[in-house]
């Protein structure tokens, strides 16, 4: 079981309920805008505490309301690409990329800086401040930062939005490789049907 979760969560007036256990390494989470997809990712990453339920990823129990388990975010080791990129504005691109890498145990790293930089085509941006990046450049750096933190699983919130077709294709290939060769479980939020069809072994509908 790669993702095994059941959780309920209130935001404002909306009650979000979701339970699924996914056998597929890459699971897509889909649903209309505002239905609660980002909220679910936040719950899995440990940034929001569900009212009740249980979250396990790749056999690791991250949260269990009944058992009183609630791992702190830094111990969950999620590679979270936020819908809003959240680059650190006071660090250059290079420092943003290595932020998580330097905090991760060397043994856990499964991808190197050079490879990430090449795949994402951000070599010329390393000395830049985030404020000077274009929308797509920002997104790519955010993806790189998450991959380099040696995560045990990935949470991708619309990672391909605002990337051009070519760049999107390269990235999708990278995601496929991560899924297949590295066996890293991935939860992908996407609105693009073709993307979901191509990548996802299982599709979870939130409504």
């Amino acid at each position: 079981m790669f993702f095994d979760l059941s959780l309920s969560c209130r935001v404002g007036e909306r009650a979000i309920e979701l339970a699924f256990a996914s056998q597929a390494r890459l699971t897509a989470l889909v649903g209309p805008s505002g239905v609660g997809k980002t909220t679910v990712l936040n719950c899995i990453a440990g940034l929001r505490r569900p009212e009740s339920g249980r979250v396990a990823v790749a056999g690791n129990l991250l949260f269990d309301a009944a058992a009183g388990v609630n791992l702190r975010p830094e111990l969950r080791r999620a590679g979270y690409v936020f819908q809003d990129a959240r680059l650190f504005p006071h660090m250059r691109v290079a420092a943003n990329l290595t932020y998580g890498e330097r905090l991760a145990p060397t043994a856990d790293r499964w991808i190197g800086q050079e490879e990430v930089v090449e795949f994402l085509g951000i070599g010329h941006l390393l000395a830049r401040w985030p404020a000077t990046l274009s929308g797509g450049e920002t997104r790519r750096v955010a993806i790189g930062r998450a991959l380099l933190s040696a995560p045990r699983f990935l949470l991708l919130d619309e990672p391909f939005a605002s990337l051009d077709a070519e760049r999107g294709e390269t990235l999708m290939k990278l995601v496929e490789r991560i899924r297949d060769e590295l066996e890293i479980p991935i939860l992908l939020v996407s609105h693009d049907r073709s993307e979901v069809e191509r990548l996802a072994g299982e599709v979870v509908m939130l409504a």
């Binding site: 504005p89 905090l103 933190s149």
Partner: protein, 233 residues
């Protein structure tokens, strides 16, 4: 510079700088911690703490000096303890002047820092946490540097306030040449002497030049990190 100043003036200037710099250095971590508490935590008594921090601003400096005297004098509870434990005497010493300046600078520094901490986007701290940073590390690498404008502004305000501090200093640390006679006390002494307008004007000008220098330095420091200041998606 030493050519333009008399040896006595030179002594006053170096003492003032020592007192102000030590005061700011002492107050910086304390006021940042207070600012952080007030900005980020909700706890019972928070407004009371806020009020206590503002006290040195509201109460006339002479009263603050008097309270310091009661607490940190050799017969005061803290003063007696400091003396018996560490042999540390504050009254009549430059260290006492630094304490008085630090207390007076505190509220200004806390407010500036608090404003900057409140302006830090917490989602960035969240992002740091998912990347493996402990709360403490996320604080050191995200909140602290992003609140640098407030630290710089606070340090500048605190330094200026320390340079100008008079009432609490003369009450608590007294007005002793070479020990506690900082620029404002020297100016006060000058004001006691009729016909000393030139001397008073010289000393005031020195204060102004010192703070101008501090201002230029702080502006340069802030500008050096300006690339990082812009807003990001």
């Amino acid at each position: 510079m030493s050519e333009w100043l008399t040896p006595a003036e030179w002594g006053v200037v170096t003492l003032s700088l020592k007192v102000s710099l030590v005061a700011v250095a002492l107050t910086l971590p304390v006021s940042y911690a207070l600012a952080w508490l007030l900005a980020r935590r909700r706890f019972p008594g928070r407004i009371l703490l806020d009020a206590v921090v503002h006290l040195p601003l509201v109460v006339p400096p002479v009263v603050t000096g008097w309270i310091l005297l009661v607490l940190f004098g050799r017969n005061g509870p803290i003063g007696a303890w400091l003396e018996s434990q560490f042999g540390l005497v504050l009254v009549f010493r430059w260290s006492g002047a630094a304490l008085a300046a630090a207390v007076m600078a505190l509220p200004l520094m806390v407010r500036a820092m608090r404003l900057s901490i409140e302006a830090v986007d917490r989602r960035l701290v969240d992002a740091a946490r998912t990347l493996g940073a402990s709360p403490w590390r996320a604080f050191l690498s995200i909140t602290l540097p992003l609140s640098a404008p407030g630290i710089a502004a606070g340090a500048m305000l605190g330094f200026a306030r320390s340079l100008g501090e008079f009432g609490a200093t003369i009450t608590f640390a007294s007005n002793i040449a070479g020990q506690t006679r900082t620029l404002p006390l020297a100016i006060y002494s000058g004001l006691q002497l009729p016909g000393a307008e030139v001397q008073v004007a010289r000393l005031s000008l020195i204060s102004v030049v010192l703070s101008l220098a501090a201002l230029v330095i702080s502006e340069l420091l802030v500008r050096r990190s300006a690339g990082s200041r812009a807003h990001v998606l």
